[in-house]
Amino acid sequence: MTALTIHQLRWTPTALERRQHWLLNGIDLHVAAGEFVGLIGPNGSGKTSLLRCAYRFNPPLAGQVSLDGNDLWQQRPRWSAQRIAVVLQEFPQAFGLTVADVVAMGRTPHQGMFAGDNEADRQLIEQTLDAVGLGDVHQHDFATLSGGEKQRVLLARALVQQPRLLILDEPTNHLDPRYQLELLGHLRRLGLSTLASFHDLNLAAAFCDRLYVIDNGCLVASGTPAEVLTAERLHQVFGVHALVDTHPLAGYPRITWITEP
């Protein structure tokens, strides 16, 4: 059973269209139901652009993005918002929204135009804030939170959207090691179909079922972390030498970067 399927996707910003220079080309990717899939690649390789195609922001120039067999671009924006939730590095403008206000936005795709939040909505918001460990700050001003707390608020907003698919753009940015592990552990336990981009390859190796490697707008490898994360490939894609062995406690690959003397 597949949740997200991307088939032969090609995309480029409108400004570059005439030069026939594709920033994403021939992308084939899928996320199975309940699967946690990671996307890795160097800066500027197209990770964020690819995620944007998956949450119906960038319209593809060729190819298809579909969820549960439905082409996203044949559906209304609201349809995909009811099924796909996104956690980005994009924070609300800092004037006067409470944590609860920010999280409540996640209910938007499920509500009518003039409808307020009903009792069920409020309960869901409260439970979700408790689940991400922010139950006691729900009336605080969002702008006063720390980076890590903000990140968890945005996760809570995505969760109250009750999505079939969760898309995360570098979810562990701004987080200290403890919250990195807690957040990813929490995400894994949810059992949602998830597509997330990662900078930290060791985190990707520890938490993902499968990984895709993107370089220069093309997918160059995919498979389990053990299959994908080899020293040769890391050198090819990232241009750095690494020592890859097995994590002594858990069995997934462990990457140690080799610095020039």
């Binding site: 119906r56 918002a81 980005l88 206000d101 936005m105 938007t108 135009m113 003039f114 009336q139």
Partner: protein, 339 residues
């Protein structure tokens, strides 16, 4: 700390409505001709058919009911409308300094006003100037949309820049016409541009009232979209909004409302810029809560500034635009210093 609980919010809105009502009644007592407050209440009561007769003259009754009452109500409507427009534009452009006059609508209205005063004359009686101003506002709105539009996409930065650019060009034209034009006509346009509520009469009040009501309803319907846009374009898309559509709807809605208000009262500054910030301090930035409070505060503010405009240099009227800028600016400086 902004108000958060539902009950406190309802109390605040009811309280503000009450204060606005009492303020409107009290404001009727101010003006060059003195009418005691008790007589004012009596006159209003008589006109509403609640009581008959009292110890006031026919003249006092006429001044209060036919001259002051529509003016006070127009002040409340214009203030509420401008604050509403400012609130929505600050969210949709993600710019806390956005105000109703920033996006070029008022300069278009000014150009329309200048053209009619200098070249056309009174083609529609007392309504010539407001009508021309509204047509000018529509024209500049279309121009801004056309300039900002980029292959069907409309970013808030481009909207802002297009508004400012169109504004400059149109104001250059206005100033050129005023500079080279007939002195007397120029003076009357200048006076209109500084803002005033002198045009108020009972026959026209339905228009700004209806526009304000429709504008409030439309913006309340878009309120979630405003919340989402404040969080950023990507977030708004991921929550199911058609961002371009929301932007165009908010822009057209606010431009039309501004056009009507500016046509009736000139370019009154400050209200649309600062009152939204005060409202945000009271109830936070969630727009379903913010919009009504912002409108109420705007109305309340302009009713009292108009009282000042009518009394400061009585028997002359101070243009209300000068009064809002002076009083509002000083008030805000005081607020900043206190924090």
């Amino acid at each position: 700390m902004p108000i958060r609980s539902v009950a406190a919010y309802r109390l605040l809105v009811l309280g503000l409505l009450g204060v606005l009502l009492v303020s409107c009644m009290t404001a009727l007592a101010f003006g060059p001709a003195s009418v005691p407050v008790s007589n004012v209440w009596g006159i209003v009561g008589e006109q509403l058919g609640l009581r008959s007769g009292g110890d006031w003259t026919q003249g006092q009754s006429r001044i209060v009911w036919l001259i002051r009452a529509p003016r006070v109500l127009l002040g409340a409507l214009v203030g509420a409308g401008l604050a509403l427009v400012g609130t929505a534009l600050q969210a949709v452009t993600r710019n806390p300094l956005a105000d109703p006059h920033l996006l070029g609508v008022s300069s278009g209205a000014a150009l329309g006003a200048v053209l009619v005063v200098l070249f056309l004359g009174d083609f529609a009686g007392v309504f010539s100037l407001p009508l021309a101003a509204f047509i000018g506002a529509l024209g500049s709105m279309t121009l801004v949309l056309a300039v900002a539009n980029q292959q069907g996409r409309l970013s808030s930065e481009r909207l802002l820049l297009a508004g400012v650019a169109v504004s400059f060009v149109l104001m250059a034209l206005v100033n050129l016409l005023l500079y080279t034009g007939d002195q007397h006509a120029s003076n009357s346009v200048m006076f209109w541009m500084l803002g005033g509520l002198g045009l108020a009469r009972w026959e026209i009040l339905w228009l700004p009232a209806l526009c304000l009501l429709l504008g409030l309803l439309a913006l309340l319907a878009l309120a979630r979209g405003l919340n989402a846009l404040m969080s950023g374009e990507h977030t708004a898309v991921s929550l199911g909004f058609n961002v371009q559509a929301v932007r165009v709807q908010v822009f057209v809605c606010t431009a039309l409302l501004t056009g009507v208000l500016v046509a009736l009262s000139g370019a009154i500054g400050f209200v649309g810029l600062m009152l939204p910030h005060l409202a945000r301090r009271l109830v936070g930035a969630e727009h379903r809560r913010l919009l009504p409070v912002s409108a109420l505060l705007g109305g309340l503010f302009l009713v009292w500034v108009d009282v000042a405009a009518r009394t400061l240099i009585a028997p002359q009227d101070l243009p209300i635009g000068i009064a809002t800028a002076a009083i509002g600016g000083v008030f805000f400086i005081a607020l900043l210093r206190r924090r």
